[in-house]
Amino acid sequence: MSRKHTSVETRYMEEREQTLRGLEGLSRRGFLKVSAAAAAGAATLVGGMSRHSFLPVRIAGAQPGDKGFRFAYISDSHLYEEKVNDRFVRGLLRAVDDVNRMDPQPDFVLYGGDLAQLGQASELQLGQQILKTLKAPLKMMVGEHDWFLDLGDKWRELFGPELYSFDHKGVHFVTLMSVVEKDFWTERKLTPMERMKTVAGLDNGAQRSFEVGEAGRKWLADDLAKVPKSTPLVVFSHSPLYKLYKKWNFWTDDAEPVQALLKPFQRVTVIHGHTHQILTNRIGNIHFHGMLSTAWPWPYAPEGLPELTIQMDRPDPFNPSDGCGDGSFDVHPDGLVDSIYRLWNRNPVSVKASYVATGKTDRPPTNSRRGY
C-alpha cells in the first residue's frame, strides 16, 4: 500500500495504546476474548471515554471519579402526523434510540423546542408519545412551532409551564420562553393556523422578532436573584439570546437586557435551538451553543456568523439527515460546558469550553465544503 492510513484520532490512539499495553498478553486471538466489561473498563481509564462515542471526550482536568456530569439533547423535530410525513418521525425515533443507547445514561435529556411543526395537538401528542420511550428523565423547552397555533394552551397541558428552573449537581438550570413575538395577527384578523403558518416560515417577514419579553425578563430576574453569582448557570432558550440574523429570527430582540441579567454570573452557558446547525459564540463571559435538529439542517446565515463558529460541511440532499443529529453536553465540576454534536453519518464534533473561551485551544477541525 502506498499510503499509511492515518486518522484524526491518531494522537489519541497513541495515548490509548500506552494505556492498553497495561492489559497483558493481548494476543491477536486474545483480543476477541476480551469481555465487553473489560473493554469498557479499559475505555474509561483514558479520561472517561464513552464506549458509545470514539471521539476522545476528555473532561478537562478530570480524574477518574470526578463529579462532572453529562446530559443529552434532542431538538427541533418539527413533527407532522405520521401519515403526513414519516421522515420527520423517523428522525425523532432515531435520536431517541441514540440517547437510549448511551452508556452510561445521561443525567437527563433536554428537548430543545419545535417538537411539532404546526403546533397541532396531534403533533405534540405524537412527540410526547415518542419521547416517553426515553429512559432518562426529560426536560422540555418550547419553540415557536409549538406555540403559535394556540399560544401555548396545548403545550402547557402536556408539558407544564414554559418558564421554569431547577438545580442539578450544583448547577442552576433555567428554561426560558424566548420566542415571544409582539402581536402581528390581531390587526390582520389572521386565523390561528394562518398565524402559525406565518411563524413557521423561517424567512417569513410578516412575523415579528423573537424576544423573551418583559414578563419573561422579570421572571428571570426574580429567579436569578436567589442564585449566588458563583453558581454555574446554564440557560435553555429556543432563540439564541443574541443577534445573529434578523431575517431568519436567528435573533432575540431583547438580547442585551437578558444578557445583562446573566453577565454577573461567573460561568454562564446558553444552549439554544432554532438554528439547526453547529453554532458557537461567546459574548463577554457568556458561552452560546446551538443544537442540531433531527428534521433538517438550516444553511448558515449570509451575515452575522460569530467568529468562533466553525461551519459544518454543506449537507448532501441525497441524505435527508445529513447535517442533523442529536448530542450532549458535558458539565465540568467548575461549571464549564463542552458541547458534543453527534451528527448522523458524520464524525462527532466536540466544541469544548476551552475553545469557546480562547478561540484557539482545542479548536475543532475546519471543513471545506461551505454553503453559498
Partner: protein, 226 residues
C-alpha cells in the same frame, strides 16, 4: 388585478350612494331586491357577492360601511387575488436590473425602433419582478409544489439560500450526471419534497427558476462549480 379591485370598490360605493338617494325617493333601486323578512340585498358588481341589509344607510359613512363589508367578503372568498401584497409582506424579492440608461439617448420622438420610454422600462421591471414573486409563492408552499409530505423548498433554502443557480450546468453528484437548475429542482421535488417532478415548461417550474435566479442577482456565473 388592482384595476379590478378599484372598480369593485367604486361600484360598491356608487351603489351605496345611489341607494341612499333612491331610499329617499322611495323607489326600488336597480341591483337590489326585497328579500324575505324585508331585508334588502346589495350586490357587488361581480353580481355574486351579496350583503343583506335590514336597514339602508342614511349617509355617506353608512354607505361606505356597506361597500367595505362587500369588499371584505369578496377578499375572503378570493384570498389569492391580493397575492402580491401577501408575497411582499412575507418575503423580500431582489429588484430586477435598473434599465433607466436605455431611456436616455438621442433618438428622436416618434421613432419606432431604437427608442424606449419610461413606461417600457417600468413594464419590464414590473413583469420581471412579478415572475420572481410568483416563484416565491410556489417556493414557499408545499401544497402548490405537490408535496406528499408537507415539505416546501424554504425548509432547506430560506430566501433561496444555498441554491447557487450560477453554478449550473454542473455535474450534480446526487444525479450522477450533468444537470441544469431545473433538473436539480426536479430532483429535489422528487426526493426531499416527495412531489411529482414538473415538466420543464410547467408555469410553477418557470416561476421557481425566476425566483431562484432573482435572489442571486449580482453573482458571477461559474458553471461546473461544486
Amino acid at each position: 388585478m388592482r384595476t379590478r379591485l378599484l372598480f369593485a370598490c367604486v361600484c360598491a360605493m356608487t351603489f351605496a350612494c345611489n341607494q341612499k338617494e333612491r331610499a329617499e325617493k322611495r323607489e326600488p333601486a336597480p341591483g337590489s331586491a326585497p328579500a324575505a323578512g324585508g331585508a334588502t340585498e346589495v350586490k357587488l358588481c361581480d353580481n355574486h357577492t351579496t350583503v343583506a341589509l335590514t336597514e339602508l344607510p342614511k349617509d355617506r359613512g353608512g354607505g361606505q360601511a356597506v361597500a367595505d363589508q362587500l369588499m371584505a367578503q369578496w377578499r375572503q372568498q378570493h384570498p389569492d387575488q391580493e397575492w402580491e401584497t401577501a408575497v411582499r409582506r412575507s418575503w423580500t424579492i431582489k429588484p430586477p436590473a435598473d434599465n433607466a440608461s436605455v431611456i436616455a439617448g438621442g433618438q428622436r420622438e416618434g421613432q419606432t425602433y431604437g427608442r424606449y420610454t419610461q413606461l417600457d422600462v417600468t413594464t419590464w421591471a414590473r413583469e420581471s419582478e412579478r415572475a420572481a414573486m410568483e416563484g416565491a409563492r410556489v417556493f414557499h408552499d408545499g401544497d402548490e409544489l405537490g408535496s406528499t409530505i408537507a415539505v416546501s423548498c424554504d425548509m432547506c433554502h430560506p430566501d433561496a439560500a444555498n441554491t447557487h443557480p450560477e453554478t449550473y450546468p454542473k455535474f450534480q453528484v446526487q444525479m450522477g450526471r450533468v444537470a441544469l437548475l431545473r433538473d436539480m429542482i426536479n430532483w429535489c421535488l422528487e426526493h426531499p419534497v416527495r412531489a411529482k417532478p414538473m415538466a420543464a415548461d410547467d408555469p410553477r417550474m418557470r416561476a421557481m427558476e425566476a425566483y431562484i435566479l432573482a435572489q442571486r442577482a449580482g453573482t458571477a456565473l461559474a458553471y461546473g462549480k461544486h
